[in-house]
Amino acid sequence: MTKSRKRPLELWHLISIAITLLYLLFLIVPMFNILKESVYENGRFTLKYFIQFFSEPYYFNTILNSFKISIATTLFSLLVGVPLAYLYNLYRIHGRSVVQVLIILSSMSAPFVGAYAWILLLGRYGLITKFFAELGIALPSIYGFRGVVLVLTTRLYPLVFMYVSGALRNVDNSLLEASQNLGVSGVKRFFKVVVPLCTPSILAAALMVFMRAMADFGTPLLIGEGYRTFPVEIYKQYVGETSQNYNFAAAISVIAIVITAIVFLVQKVASEKFSFKMNALHSIERKKAKPVTSFFIHAYTYIVVAISMLPQVYLVYCSFRNTNAFGNFTKGLSLNSYKNAWKYVRTALPNTLIIGLSTMVIVVLMSILIAYMVVRRKNTMNNVLDTMSMIPYIIPGSVIGIALVLTFSKGWLVLTGTMAIMIIAMVIRRIPYTIRSSVAVLQQIPITTEEASISLGASKLKTFFKVTTPMMASGIVSGAILSWVSIITELSASIMLYSARTQTLTLSIYVLVSRGTDGAACAVSTILLLFTVISLALFMRVSKNKDIVM
């Protein structure tokens, strides 16, 4: 008998130690600091802020409001997205690919930019509001709860659409035919067969929408007015309307994390209960609907797409409108706004590129390494790493922002105000998603392919670079492009961390909007949109299956 010998310390061990240390330094310690800050004031333990939060309705309501908004947004997103995915995948629709591109595009803008555009359209002095006012019709106010839900829904229903479309692609045509044979068709089939088949995806999408709505910060800030949600409250406490109160901001953060964690766990349990595997031998054939039905299908699809694209289109239009010296719109068209915006774009554009690209490179590298260790080299340390890498998933961006400020504004490593802290925040926010998608890609690759390489004499490292990585490539590149898009439109963490030197395009828009410089804001938004469109086009070319999961 031989005992299996202990292997010497391999390169992979060093890598997993290094990554673990990075996580400790940039995620665990900051999170711990948030926790500490929430219960320690001037070196003494106190629950004062938690008590204050739960005893004063003003604060407690922010959580309730966030819940109301998230639930409403989730419901509306499902109501819009599920039928849309159903119609899109079961029936022939003219301009299919354009429809899909536009749906995806509308999910890619920064939510607060959408909010801003809606204000320009439906706000007090909005285009549509004025139009109806002239007809003597007063439109309901867009500010507050309604506006937030509208903006978030138009931005988040595409997630539902994409998840459910993905599920429908795995539904075998024979299942639909069988149900028709058994006398279940039309609307009944939708509810009795299609929805249950897509339940796992619907649940996953619902969670995604819920989490995003919950954590979104820019939309309620801009359009919520008196309607306060907790990410806004954290920010207000942090910048200090009256006085800065990190302790209180931290306490709210802790409460927020606990809530999102509970939601996450509940969804996890629920989706495990509903999970099953599908694999379509024959994908669903898209049918041509009867003329009348077809009319309604097209009407529904086009209207949804039009509404969700409207803000973007209007912003582009506004960017070319003439402006006066204060940046307010006047009659006629001009490039004034771009001239005014140039001052901001000049620094914001390079910043955006540097932050976006560095984040993307770091995220991709770390995701490949972590995915490889989690899937192919299971051990305790890598399992811990796996769990740790999922933590940011449940932490709102603004909380990550505060945690980093608390940790890196003093002590041996001061990073506040630097580009580095922005990149770190972006990496933390993005990495759970890219790791998940890299893990999914790697799980599709049979381990025997790597074993074949090793048995042919290639070392493990060579196998990783020559076989594993190239096979993961297309999945990873498309994931990277999606990361890029969400990085350049990120607001909630970066707003806590930016300085004059590290302002990005998205932050510039925010600054311009809050100063009321509408023209320039529209111009920068248009530039950002252009980037997004180019990235999306790139994505479409790279990813073969066009299956987007964000």
């Binding site: 008998m1 074993e451 004499g457």
Partner: protein, 361 residues
């Protein structure tokens, strides 16, 4: 440079679950050796222990005199062929075949020459610049085989290489594999759960069940003289019947219902009155309408298969047996007719009641 493989007392555990308790094997130089057994019996596990992809919890593995337990899989000079082909999807056919050669110190010309040689041998030269996704399953498996053999491995390991192919291709490819193996003379360990495939291709077969080798032998021996009831039923078709040993006037035999069949080859374990299991293959029965045997039965069904006809007969005891008889034009045993049956006593196998031990020889 073919080698022989010796495995002594191999143990494999996953956590607390023992998959292979204690397994020993001796595979000869240049032999086509097959691990055969039902799904989940540990064939792949054992093969991957030889390849170095599984940890070894106990025992010794040798290639010739070299103990390989702790040898890096990349250094074992093994060619492997997998069930899912495992060709590299991002490399051309040529790139796949040349991959292993590039890991060795070989000149460009040598690599090209060797690659060409194996592309031609496996008849895939015409696809050399294609990516695998544009090849059929059979062609992909040819690429995998060419890739594995091009490095001149000491051992060729194959894990169910044909099970993803359709029936016709499976037969074709198994001939290709056998022919190439013969030509190169490489020691080959082949894994399959398909007994027919194993019989067709192997020099010797190890029949495994639950991580334990039940019998090692040539296809002929396994078929005719299985070591236990498991092997008898796993290899080929057989009827298992309850019987009893009798001993009369110094003559031994088996008693089936009330019919006595004297046998010359029973061993000492077969003592008078012992309950036994009989394994009688369909062709080891003799069936006729009258005058050929002492067992009686009724034909419930028959299937004409050209060369043979299969009869499904219910014996008087109620047991159902399948009997094969060469077809003939005046074959007229009708359904529901009474028949007489005898057995070819020199061919049948007798096992202890628990099926563990053979009572022949």
């Amino acid at each position: 440079m073919s080698i022989n493989i010796i495995i002594k007392n191999a143990v494999k555990r996953y956590g607390d679950v023992v998959i292979i308790p204690d397994l020993s094997l001796d595979i000869k130089k240049g032999e086509f050796f097959t691990l055969l057994g039902p799904s989940g019996c540990g064939k792949t596990t054992l093969l991957r222990m030889i390849a170095g992809f599984n940890t070894i919890e106990g025992g010794d593995f040798y290639f010739n005199e070299t103990r390989i337990n702790d040898l890096n899989p990349a250094k074992r000079n093994i060619g492997m062929v997998f069930q899912n082909y495992a060709v590299f999807p991002h490399m051309t056919v040529r790139g796949n075949v040349a991959f292993g050669l590039k890991n060795r110190k070989m000149s460009k010309e040598e690599i090209k020459k060797r690659t060409d040689e194996f592309l031609e041998l496996m008849k895939i030269k015409e696809y050399e610049n294609r990516l695998p996704e544009r090849l059929s399953g059979g062609q992909q498996q040819r690429v995998a085989l060419a890739r594995a053999l091009a490095v001149h491995p000491d051992v060729l390991l194959m894990d169910e290489p044909l099970s993803n192919l359709d029936a016709k291709l499976r037969v074709e490819m198994r001939e290709v594999i056998k022919e190439i193996q013969n030509k190169i003379g490489i020691t080959t360990v082949y894994v399959t759960h398909d007994q027919e495939e194993a019989m067709a291709i192997s020099d010797r077969i190890a029949v495994m069940d639950k991580g334990v080798i039940q019998q090692i032998g040539t296809p002929k021996v396994l078929y005719h003289r299985p070591a236990n009831l498991f092997v008898a039923t796993f290899i080929g078709k057989t009827n298992v019947l309850d019987g009893k040993i009798y001993e009369e006037n110094g003559e031994k035999g088996v008693m089936l219902e009330n019919a006595k069949f004297p046998m010359k080859n029973l061993n000492d374990l077969a003592v008078d009155g012992l309950n036994v299991k009989l394994s009688i293959r369909p062709e080891e029965f003799v069936i006729c309408e009258h005058g050929c045997g002492s067992l009686k039965g009724i034909v419930e069904d028959s299937v004409f298969l050209g060369l043979n006809t299969q009869y499904f007969v219910r014996l008087e005891s109620g047991e159902k047996v399948q009997i094969t008889r060469e077809s003939s034009i005046e074959d007229t045993i009708e359904k529901n007719s009474e028949v007489e049956i005898s057995v070819k006593t020199d061919k049948i196998n007798v096992f202890s009641e628990d099926g563990q031990r053979a009572l022949i020889g």
